[in-house]
Symmetry: C2
Subunit: 135 residues, 2 copies
Amino acid sequence: MGLVRRRSTAEGRDRWPVEQRTYRGEDGPRGLKQIVVGPDDGAPNFAMRVFQLQPGKASNEEEHGHDHGVYIMHGRAKVLLGADHHEVQAGDFVWVAPDERHSFESLGPEPLQFLCVVPAWGEPDAERLPPRPTA
Amino acid sequence: MGLVRRRSTAEGRDRWPVEQRTYRGEDGPRGLKQIVVGPDDGAPNFAMRVFQLQPGKASNEEEHGHDHGVYIMHGRAKVLLGADHHEVQAGDFVWVAPDERHSFESLGPEPLQFLCVVPAWGEPDAERLPPRPTA
């Protein structure tokens, strides 16, 4: 059965009624991650995660076997895609290809908030991780 | 290689630099569809489509083998999920389960704009439709 996850706003921050996970790096807490729709809801094909990164914070430079589909909800970001940097802002989309080096840096002054879609098998924090299709 | 698709705004309407498809029903044009990221970009796992529906217009009541992940970008909607209706607004998420009856009606006064994620094999307007995994 499907579901509705309504946004609430507390102290100017968007939240959805799912677990609030601290998004951490080697430098400590960087912001927040919420899996708004994902494998633990029974979604078999993709996960929709919202990330909030404080100004000056960035995601690790990394690459994965899966792709990412990103929609910038609030704020501004410097995005690494392969060898190139791009500056993006609210309303823009970014697609990170499989195995492409990438990172997202929050440029401020407000926190960067973005939706990041991955295939269901690419969501490492899900408790029920579906297998990667072999097709 | 990944890509950036920046939003532009003309006459108060959001647009992205991809084909603008008229979203039609039996009652004629209902609004606009843009496949901002999808199989034709080489995205193997999911498609991200933006729909804009004029007030009073609705998507057909239908059901598919795939699920939908929806983020309401602007406006308000009455959503059918199975046998129940829900009223949602900008900032809310809706997940439509596989084979679940659903429709989205634009309640106005501004056009309803939403992002709708489907698995790549569920995007009927793509020219390069990947096969449905058999996993």
